[in-house]
Symmetry: C2
Subunit: 115 residues, 2 copies
């Protein structure tokens, strides 16, 4: 009896299924420490823009991530207000940091900063 809050099994399995894709899982891990826009993900995953967009849509559909348009770009970030965020967080915590991806982006001058 060491957790106060539990996650309904059906809901949990839907979340885990979404996280059960290496691209989406990595996205979530990245987003945990950095906001990213779509084109950054395209550069990181070396995958077509629509593929990235579709993964992000799935994450957004169940509100695991939020999006915010800034000028031309759409930035994604983790939705910490999600009812099951503690569950998600406990999973992401156990994954290795993905700072190299971000560092590589910066090295290539592909990191987007906008204001």
């Amino acid at each position: 009896m060491n957790t106060l809050v539990t996650v309904d099994l059906q809901r949990a399995s839907r979340l885990l299924k979404l996280l059960g894709d290496p691209t989406r899982l990595t996205m979530m891990k990245l987003l945990k420490s950095h906001e990213c826009c779509v084109c950054e993900f395209v550069a990181i995953f070396k995958m077509s823009q629509p593929a990235i967009s579709q993964h992000l849509r799935k994450l957004r559909d169940i509100e695991l991530v939020k999006e915010e348009r800034r000028g031309q770009w759409v930035f994604f970030s983790i939705n910490e207000d999600h009812e099951d965020y503690p569950f998600i967080q406990s999973i992401l915590e156990q994954l290795p940091e993905q700072n190299e991806s971000i560092a590589e982006l910066e090295a290539q001058g592909l990191r987007i900063c906008c204001e």
Copy 2:
């Protein structure tokens, strides 16, 4: 930096994908507190025996569960020696207990005891 051990992202996503099915996730949660044999799962999930058997095989293929034949029956249990067991455990801990399923089995006289 509060976890010492992290799970490779590829491996983590494979595990999460397997847990991302409500039947398998429930199986794992049940197995966390009770050994079960195949016919018990058939009764619990009201699903065909081959379907149950195939789910168990997937869990066994990546060694999340162990099997042990006892007479006519094959009992499954969680493999606590799995390299990623701490990861799995941290997920299962956050799911509600499934004791009703077991209680129901017992009420119907379907719980298997063999020795």
